[in-house]
Symmetry: C2
Subunit: 229 residues, 2 copies
DNA sequence: GTTTTTTCGATAGCAAAACTATCATGTTTT
DNA sequence: AAAACATGATAGTTTTGCTATCGAAAAAAC
């Protein structure tokens, strides 16, 4: 399967479009790899500059700071996810089937889809797992939100909530269930890798078990609100 | 209700026991307030030292760094939670009733219980909401875990998982459900405050709705595994 | 009740992080 | 050919994160 992207991250996210120059693309591609390797806290523009043989100041011409850079990467992640959802559900009619497919997508079961972004999907998934909450768990969250920079995540969450409502119209917590599922699709594999006492999912990409957990969670809750089920 | 604590945070967490001196207690109490006010990222030992009129070096004699300090605060939070759970469930027999009570506790419905720790429970809850994941979403997670410093959280999670298993012995994801519930009891109110599109919970401490969401989530999933329910 | 240890204040200093500024040079655009 | 723009190169600022040293005061041990 092949995805073609017209969707681009919000312009306010970067000072100039990194996709418009060699240096910009290099910053994003290599920055993604470096952050994946050393983690958000240890990642600095200076280290990245050394790695790709440019200057710190040049990177600052593209991104205000590393928080914006992380947000830029996650925006790609969320856009890819939502796009994958749209394309995958296009030919499906059964609401239950749609939800099962979507769970496979957020559980990273579609990561081999080629998306032509040139971004390392494995690194992107790793960053989404370990760093994504750092993007909104900050004191400046309201200002960032006012700039619409969380829109991709909110759209994705809203779309999934819509699918839940379609399946179980009476359920009153579709948005909360959607964010719960999204967050847990990241956190449970992280726990599996590092804090196994907090999960029943197995190490090393035990996606089938993650999928079973999420499916059971979502359908138990939604079926409970379908009369006669 | 009144809680008396014999439980103390792991000794390895602090370089010396902050509860053993005036300065130590001041660091913890005021540090908690300051971090709650300005957030983990903006919090520094230098700022705290100025605020409580001591020296940066003196604070470093108690805590290695601010990450350990945060972990120390969260350890109190987890200990208080688990202790509250133990005491509240002591006289309950019905597993369903136990789970309902426990959900009220993690949803911060018992925050008026006096615990004699002298810690501001409101600030502690705020920090647990906004900062708790920063304590394990780091590259050094495995080393910290090897020092047993996440034990209080894992114990709490394990205890809750035990209650789930008692209610629905066949359910295979009790730990994952437990961590899901714990994480969401923090994250959903945070979303309600700052990113309302991601939740159905209302602003301003709408605990009743949070409790309804969590109860519905947990019981839907567990009841699904009880034959005949 | 005075040694001895511990604690804290006070000051200093350092390396890294997180930027900002300036200017020259090369490269596109018009 | 001129104007506009992107990058390199260099420098400098403030804040953070942390360590070292030393003397005075307070607490503990003898």
């Amino acid at each position: 399967m092949n995805l073609r992207f017209t969707i681009r991250p919000n312009e306010k996210l970067a000072l100039r479009d990194p996709e418009s120059s060699d240096l910009g693309r290099k910053i994003v591609r290599q920055g993604l790899m470096l952050m994946h390797k050393i983690g958000y806290e240890h990642f600095t523009f200076r280290k990245l500059a050394t790695e790709i043989d440019t200057k710190e100041a040049s990177i600052y011409r593209y991104f205000e700071n590393k928080h914006r850079f992380l947000l830029y990467l996650l925006t790609w992640h969320w856009n890819i996810l939502e796009y994958t959802v749209i394309v995958s559900l296009r030919n499906l009619d059964d609401p239950a089937e749609k939800i099962r497919t979507l769970i496979r997508i957020v559980a990273n079961d579609f990561s081999d889809w080629d998306d032509e972004t040139g971004l390392d999907r494995n690194a992107l998934h790793g960053i989404a797992m370990a760093e994504s909450s750092k993007v909104y768990l900050i004191k400046e969250v309201d200002e960032v939100n006012r700039e619409q920079l969380f829109k991709p995540y909110k759209d994705l969450c809203g779309r999934i909530a819509g699918l839940f409502s379609e399946y179980a119209p009476g359920y009153p917590f579709s948005r909360s269930l959607s964010s719960t599922m999204l967050e847990m699709s990241q956190l449970q594999p992280y726990f599996a890798q590092h804090l196994p006492a907090l999960t029943d999912i197995g190490k090393d990409g035990d996606y089938e078990k993650l999928i079973r957990f999420l499916e059971n969670l979502v359908f138990s809750v939604l079926d409970n609100h379908i009369p006669g089920k």
